[in-house]
């Protein structure tokens, strides 16, 4: 392990590097987290339909790799709610890092932890530990990236789009119009909704299937075989499984950002394991982004 690199891991090496804050390290495979949680102010709260984005000022923190996450807890009144939870911090992908170090997190109020976090606003503080985990790798061999997101899983695709530069193809799926408002986080997305209220009526994976069909039939694809596109996906397990199966069928590499409940976020609790071809791996240290090829299935 080395510390104090100016340039960070794979993204910097590939020329995608965002400015790295001095004094923070990289191990080559990931941007390292400072050791210890930081109490940071919430500096913004915006609603996007069913979602809330909270912004946290972290000017001294390291710039996360796309796909890395942080453990978040409200600094006050964390616990003691209606059912006396939450007790543990919650894991969230970093959705965006602004030039001043402000970090955006996309939340959907679905339980006691997200309920408390989603009500935070200017003047509140959070405890933040991160950036954690292994994020997305830059496209291999100059492949054209296709970003596929579902629901609140669109979060890491926003920071990924920022890192990729000139607009990659973005395909996003949502339940309904209220959730589709989250699409505003990304530039120029193609949207699908389950109820047809916005965009394509159906699953985002149907959009992916037709895009892959086009891409793989194009002249460039013919000349370079299937080494042409690479899929980056984050969303609910059924969507990720459909993406995995589709990519496996067409021999297209895919990087999947998975989710699992975690207690710690740094490998201590062994609670966030998912099965791979090599046995269980901890999503917090070996993920959350996994090469689709290591998975039999996303469950």
């Amino acid at each position: 392990m080395t510390e104090g690199f100016e340039a960070r891991g794979a993204w910097a090496a590939a020329g995608h590097g965002m400015s790295a804050a001095a004094g923070h390290g990289s191990s080559g495979e990931r941007t390292l987290a400072p050791f210890g949680r930081r109490r940071l102010p919430v500096v913004g709260r915006r609603e996007y339909g069913a979602y809330v984005v909270i912004s946290v000022a972290d000017p001294g923190g390291p710039a996360p790799d796309p796909g890395q996450f942080a453990m978040l807890a409200a600094a006050e009144r964390w616990g003691g709610g209606a059912d006396e939870r939450p007790f543990l911090p919650r894991a969230f992908s970093v959705a965006r890092r602004h030039h001043d170090g402000t970090l955006d997190f996309l939340l959907e109020d679905v339980g006691p932890g997200t309920n408390r976090l989603a009500e935070l606003d200017d003047g509140d503080d959070v405890w933040l530990l991160g950036p954690l985990g292994r994020g997305f790798a830059p496209p291999h061999d100059g492949r054209r990236p296709i970003l596929v997101g579902g629901g609140v899983g669109i979060a890491p695709l926003a920071i990924l789009q920022d890192a990729l530069g000139p607009s990659p193809l973005v395909l996003l799926g949502f339940r309904d119009v209220d959730h589709a408002a989250g699409a505003a986080l990304l530039c120029d997305p193609n949207v699908a909704t389950d109820d047809g209220s916005v965009g394509h009526h159906g699953f985002v994976t149907e959009l992916l299937a037709s895009e892959m069909d086009v891409a793989l039939r194009s002249s460039q694809a013919r000349s370079s075989g299937r080494r042409y596109i690479e899929v980056y996906a984050c969303g609910p397990p059924p969507m990720l499984e459909a993406v995995r199966a589709l990519c496996a069928e067409h021999g297209v590499p895919a990087q999947l950002a998975l989710e699992s409940g975690m207690a710690c976020g740094f490998g201590a609790c062994f609670g966030c394991v998912v099965p791979t071809r090599d046995g269980y791996v901890r999503l917090c240290v070996d993920g959350p982004v996994l090469d689709a090829a290591v998975l039999e299935a996303v469950t």
């Binding site: 510390e3 050791f35 201590a268 269980y280």
Partner: protein
């Protein structure tokens, strides 16, 4: 410095076995972890003879004041631990305590013997929360089982042996007394308390892949205090007390109940530096009350015995 079984420690705060993976933490935090290592000694995750995958997910359930885990002791097995983990753990700036578990006394003895000559290892902790496959009894739930275990293990090493007591039995104090009589150098308690959660989407079905799991966190703190005191009344060997410790105050309470060291577990999940913070808070409490770290322990508890 304080002395525990002849091991010199900077402060009385250690980690509970299986609640901090120093190798994974170094991947996340880099060498900053070593510069500010939160524990005075590091207790590694349970090692078994054969590798274990661990339990089916889901493995975690959050409680009002803690959590239930059903991890199932995943580990690389003895050979994998010796080859891959031990060299990394030897780089830590604190003494290393290796936790082992086997399904027979002979298996535990084999594990203990494998570490007997390793200079990197300061002490061994025996996880006795495992059924003896020959008798069907939990090794740590029955004084006779614990005695037989120590009789098999004690001759195999000169290193300090710590018995990690389970609270899921009739009398942890009786087990502690048996452990002491048969050669244990210290005991640690409490391990997690058995508990379960129901899957909110499947009425009557357990949430955890392992069916039941171990409850930890602030929910068990009062139980830990009572059990540490009860054990202190029965044994003279040092005690590593743990259970729901979140602050220096909680650590001081366990020490006052009769513990010599204090383990921090679940709180590290919320705050990876919790061990160091708690050690600092404890030092401040003790400085303000005139307690000097590391005096010889009284053989009997200082607190009233009647309730």
């Amino acid at each position: 410095m304080i002395s525990f079984c002849g091991i010199q420690l900077r402060h009385p705060i250690v980690n509970g076995s299986g609640t901090f993976d120093a190798i994974a933490a170094r991947r996340a935090f880099g060498d900053a972890l070593l510069r500010d290592f939160p524990f005075a000694a590091f207790v590694s995750k349970t090692v078994t003879l054969a590798p274990r995958q661990g339990n089916l997910p889901p493995r975690l359930w959050e409680l009002a004041a803690g959590m239930i885990n059903s991890i199932g002791l995943p580990n690389k097995g003895l050979d994998g631990y010796l080859a891959e983990d031990l060299p990394r753990l030897a780089e830590l700036p604190v003494p290393l305590i290796v936790n082992v578990m086997g399904s027979t006394p002979e298996e535990v003895a084999t594990l203990v013997a494998a570490f007997a000559g390793r200079e990197e290892v300061a002490a061994l902790e025996l996880n006795v929360s495992c059924p003896n496959v020959k008798t069907g009894l939990l090794m740590g739930a029955d004084p006779g089982e614990t005695a037989a275990l120590l009789d098999a293990v004690r001759p195999r090493t000169a290193k300090p042996l710590i018995v990690k007591l389970t609270p899921n039995c009739a009398s942890p104090a009786a087990v502690a007394a048996a452990a002491e009589q048969h050669g244990a150098d210290a005991v640690s308690l409490v391990n997690t308390l058995r508990g379960m959660a129901i899957d909110p989407r499947r009425p009557g079905q357990p949430w955890l892949g392992g069916g039941t799991g171990g409850v930890s966190g602030p929910a068990v703190r009062a139980i830990a205090l009572a059990q540490v005191r009860e054990v202190r009344e029965r044994v003279r060997v040092p005690i590593v007390g743990m259970g729901g410790v979140q602050s220096g105050r909680h650590a001081r309470d366990l020490l006052d109940a009769g513990a010599d060291l204090v383990g921090v577990g679940t709180e590290s999940f919320r705050d990876p530096r919790a061990g160091g913070r708690i050690a600092a808070e404890l030092a401040e409490i003790d400085a303000n009350s005139g307690i000097v770290a590391g005096p010889p322990k009284p053989a009997r508890p200082r607190i009233a015995q009647s309730l």
